[in-house]
Subunit: 261 residues, 4 copies
């Protein structure tokens, strides 16, 4: 069975800006989905903010192995309920790949617990992404580095928690560096942040970027059955303890007294 | 100058339940603050949920080096604005120590980005905390382990991100284990979760627990000046780039056109 | 193509001790290989210390995707040259799974850079392994825990570096805990330490242990081409720099002078 | 009491090469020790390879809180017994700071368990070190970055394990990046690798570099009593188990039979 990837896009620049619309006639989501579908092991579809529930209903998420997220101008317009739904899906085992300006998306900030801020500059400068973890599955097929001739600059310090692994670090012509490929785990869900992808450059048509995205989808896929009760905190009754024990010590509640909650 | 610690408590059980009230006549916050003040290097005061703004005004947080948090029955009553204020203080460099049932506090879940759930049992069973990181500053003065004869059980799996370091792992008489001492960093702030501390047991009068708390306050203290603009994402103009570069490539905005945000 | 696993065993207890010989008539290596071969995706063979070059020639390692290592009484008899050869294979991408008393093997200590010590007791006590990372691929098919009725105890503190992830933590009847499943990466190689497996108990016939071993082999497998020049530190000549630069500053060597090495 | 730092240097270039000798008339070790001694909280002395036991006798290490290590041309001449002695001191709690070409020192490779390789170029190019962990104590007093106008280039991939924290990432004029400040823990010892410091440039006279070194000494200092029996793996007799248990299951040795070791 193939990995079911969903490419989500706010889909705003494409429809409001001629430069972006000309560059990505099928939308950034369309370009990415096409790149993913080049791999026989992946079946990619798309969802956009304009669809009901942003295209991310509970039913859709239940059938999504890995979600990719592109957002920029409309982070604030994303419904908090959908964000929480996506977070729960990740905790349950859905993979999540955050693309470029999604560093400031509600869902990334929600999962990181940090501001996720950085410095930036839109100068079309050269970016060179160095692999810092040789033979990492996300970097399969990439040599020691690859270049993007025109990209937006993102600079350190990047306001994220220390990752599980740093896979890419970027060099920028203007003098900055950035940890451009970072892995995390949140609950049962694998999370990958990947820096490139400014809307006015043809980044998602770049062969190396496409390779990384296909790799990342496979890496992020957790084949385990989705955990549904992700927030449960079950009581283990004394009589069901795995080792025989007896009630001891003071108790919060007298017998028959009701609990606070 | 001493480290300024503030012990925050929801202060509900002490005033609503005779067992807890008798055990902690000065409140759990009072007991902990007294234990911290035994160290000449720490000046501990208290704050409770019932005070205006829960006792955690911006001014108070600005003068707090390390905040300790105890909550249980009233997590839901904590004002979201105060939670966000505390999160920003942590990102700016304030230390935060989460105690026992604070695993389910809004602030811990906010900073972890995960459900922070676990299993539990209130049987007054024996807990033995093993040090898994020898000579860690938080475990200074503790041998390889210490015991609490009566404690609530918390069991794995614990729904938190992989920590920077695992300092304690607990053994429970009923057969469970738990990662009881975990360190994290969120922005410039050091974060420590410490498991023991059920309200119906005299845990905070235990000498080893008090030692750990004093150690943790010192460990969590970041002497750097508090970062205030924790969410800033500054633009670096091309003419201020550290290496000389020129504008290239397509641009989102025509000259004079206004931005989306 | 299946994953090529090699199960290495010092093979001493089986041939010198009747208890172990009766329990594992095909050797511990034979029992483990049989368990792995139950998975159609794995082809497992064995190697023992008594073979030439301990059965781990360069040619054999080049055809090994994942090596499993069991040793106890004869750690000191393992040839240092073979240890270094295995280390280089790991750095190049071979997976390595260390079993039980292999915590004190030369290869594990070599890769960890620490003493890898612990406390222990041979009492046949109950061990319960709790999953601390839900839905981790190594724990696939295991619930929240599994039990081994008779095992040797290993206790904390365990003298290893902080792992990438803690997958299992053990509870022991005698009162100790142990981080029983730990993941590491060394170079391109995935490394997993798995605690159970004392030679006088039928641990490797346990269904859950076998499941974990099969999972671990799949997790540890890095499909990337093996890196061979794992120690190379190539000079990048100025004229081949990716950005145009010129020689500046003082130089160690006058023109024509020879280097120290 | 001040922190007792020892700056170790192979002390070869200074005495064999006029360029280096003129630049560091007191040796690189002398320059670094002088920089450390500017801090009233640090007492720095030096040791060189030419001294008996390389100046690192057991007695000397027992009185050393933090060891700094500079080596390059003579890694192979360092006595393996001294390397092992230093490793044991680190496991016992001594801090260790590896400088520049010490990436290839025996002690760093011993503690990392990896090749520690990289790419390099001696072109006197500009290096800019970016802070990737805001307000980290090692970066205290440094802004978001600092520059070294002439340095040797070290490039990724850097063959080290994933660190506890990445504190600095370097940008190089020639197009490479490098993780230049990495923290590790090995046993009870804090370990910091800091990239800059090529012998033909005045790097150790740079104010920012000196600030980082002083910060790093304070960060690496573990005030806990030195653990001496770092390799011990004590047996816990059944009759001393913390919970009452009885001998069960098969045993390796019949009563009175002798062990294999």
């Amino acid at each position: 069975m193939t990995i079911r990837a969903v490419v989500w896009n706010e889909n705003v620049h494409e429809t409001h800006n001629k430069v972006v619309g000309d560059l990505y006639p099928d939308g950034i989501h369309g370009a990415i989905a096409a790149a993913l579908n080049m791999d026989a092991g992946i079946t990619a579809t798309t969802a956009t903010m304009q669809e009901p529930e942003h295209g991310l209903t509970a039913a859709r998420l239940a059938e999504t192995d890995v979600l990719l997220w592109w957002g920029h101008a409309a982070h604030g317009d994303v419904d908090d309920a959908v964000v929480e739904r996506v977070a729960e899906a990740v905790w349950g085992g859905m993979g999540l790949i955050l693309l470029h300006s999604a560093h400031f998306s509600k869902i990334f900030k929600r999962l990181m617990g940090t501001p996720c801020n950085l410095t930036w500059r839109e100068a079309g400068e050269r970016e060179r992404l160095w692999v810092t973890s040789r033979s990492h599955p996300i970097a399969a097929g990439i040599g020691d580095y690859f270049e993007l001739e025109n990209e937006e600059m993102y600079g350190e310090p990047f306001g994220v928690p220390e990752p599980l692994e740093t896979v890419f670090v970027s060099w920028f012509a203007g003098g900055e560096v950035f940890r451009s490929g970072l892995t995390y785990k949140r609950g049962a869900g694998n999370v990958f942040y990947f820096r490139p992808g400014h809307e006015t450059y043809p980044t998602y048509f770049d062969a190396n970027v496409q390779t990384v995205l296909r790799n990342a989808v496979k890496w992020a896929h957790n084949p385990a059955a989705r955990i549904t009760a992700v927030n449960d905190a079950p009581n283990v009754p004394i009589e069901e303890a795995l080792e025989k024990i007896e009630q001891r010590g003071l108790k919060l509640h007298a017998d028959g007294e009701e609990g606070f909650r």
